[in-house]
Symmetry: C2
Subunit: 308 residues, 2 copies
């Protein structure tokens, strides 16, 4: 049994590779929910959806969100009706959000809805939200606090950030199955997702971090950064805002109480010694995933580390 | 100022004609809301939407509902996700329901939302729901009570009906503007819509019927029935279930306390005497509206009766 902690884009790529290289029924994915948001009154869970679509073979790898080949008829009409529609939602994608919103209004939890949707889409791996409690990543800027989606999608991560907080995190409990999955796993993979806003919220659910810290399982992380820049998205900017070094070393340092091994890019060979000084073994390889071949090759390498 | 009481299909056709033959800004439409329903957690107001789309030039005249040329991408995906999807909702149409649901969840009334949507779509005529209070048309059958949409859409009005009731009607108040519009109008048109489930709920809002009865305005109705069969839909079946004669006479009889004049089809000349015996003047013409030309010609004839 393998557990993966993940956010959206980068994590979803590695997970696609893992699901192709092992029995996906042995895979449990714990997803960030801090980016969850409400648009047009609909509940959107971007990271859960990106992972679900990737595993269902529906993901739009080029865009990194949504469903490939999706149309935008509803969104265009929403705009015509005077709605603020800067957040892109495709038509098929909307069916997910409409279903989630209705089921949750009827009293189902996010976990139950996530299970139903991944099953309906034929996904064999288990997908668990980190928590069924509402946690909201808030980005602090000089002009005030904004939601992660406002920062990320509306403002294209251009605004200077002073810090990030996870509203509701203190009261949040792990979703059903999360702690058991960690305890029963042979290894935990920390996917190459944003350490601040994707992996950060998961590890900030105190019982999850505690379970990982006290479990004897092997924990392997994959860096989302090469050099001083994230492979995609604003991880390096957000790390700098939190006075963390924007590098693979900075990522490893944030997970130092958890990691047995960290996978970094060959280009970051210079960081090896500093990471090893944290008590973490290092593997160097190519961590950029462009093709399905890349995803599967990196997944194979991660699985080989676990088997060893 | 002209007021029209209406349901969906037939009424929307006459209203399209009226809006083309007069200044639509002088037109106030009072719509049935008894067929309103919730699908996929979204608030749907079929009659308001049919009228709004017709006046915005978006209506699908052939189907009698929805937006012409609309696609069904979301609905197909909802089905794939295991949702019961017998109620047809097009993609553009869904934008209306998503907007309505969000605004009402934020505390706006159905009237406010209706005003916003018709304005956004460039409709000049005022469209008012009969009431902002929830009224639900329930169809009583031997196997139990079902909603109007279950009867009409899911079962294609095939089930034997024992009667109809309007749940919530006793507590319902006219929506803001409804009584003023009636009092300030020069005439009221009762559109050729189902007298039981379209016009029935409007007239069952007691203050609306009272205002019409006590107003001195000229009230003209148009029959939705030729011979013993409704031009579209199950009006004749529902009238028979309520022990009303399924004919133009039966329709006029139900409005006898209100009507000054009733427009029937030439084919129903034989009913003229019986309707006149109710104290209602009769106009015979062709009431079937297939083309825009038909709609405009019938509208002109109705307007001529009012001017006289």
């Amino acid at each position: 049994m393998l557990v993966v902690l993940t956010g959206g884009t980068g994590g979803a790529k590695l997970i696609e590779g893992l699901a192709a290289e092992m029995d996906p029924a042995q895979l449990t994915i714990i997803c960030n929910t801090g980016d969850d948001c409400l648009f047009h009154g609909l509940r959107i869970s971007p990271d859960i959806d990106t992972v679900t679509y990737a595993l269902a073979g529906l993901g739009d790898g080029a865009k990194g969100w949504g469903i490939q080949g999706d149309t935008f008829t509803v969104l265009e009409q929403l705009r015509r009706l005077g709605n603020d529609a800067w957040f892109n939602l495709g038509d098929k994608d909307l069916a997910t959000h409409i279903t989630r919103t209705r089921l949750m209004a009827e009293g189902q939890s996010l976990s139950q809805v996530t299970e139903r949707i991944r099953t309906a889409l034929g996904v064999k791996a288990r997908i668990l939200p980190m928590s069924d409690d509402r946690v909201e990543t808030r980005v602090m800027t000089r002009e005030g606090e904004i939601s992660f989606q406002e920062y990320f999608v509306k403002e294209h991560w251009s605004r200077a950030v002073e810090g990030v907080r996870f509203a509701g995190i203190e009261q949040s409990k792990p979703a059903p199955g999360v702690l058991d999955a960690i305890r029963q796993s042979t290894a935990v993979v920390i996917a190459p997702s944003n350490p601040v806003t994707s992996i950060g919220p998961i590890l900030a659910v105190s019982e999850i971090r505690k379970a990982l810290r006290h479990s004897v399982v092997f924990v392997v992380g994959v860096s989302p950064i090469i050099g001083a820049t994230a492979i995609s998205g604003p991880a390096h900017k957000l790390m700098a805002a939190e006075d963390r070094e924007p590098s693979a070393f900075g990522v490893a340092d944030g997970y130092r109480d958890l990691l047995n091994r960290f996978v970094i890019d060959g280009a970051d060979a210079g960081l090896r010694g500093r990471i090893e000084n944290l008590g973490i073994s290092v593997t160097q390889t190519s961590i950029r995933m462009t093709s399905l071949g890349d995803k599967r090759r990196l997944a194979r390498e991660v699985l080989a580390l676990i088997e060893k």
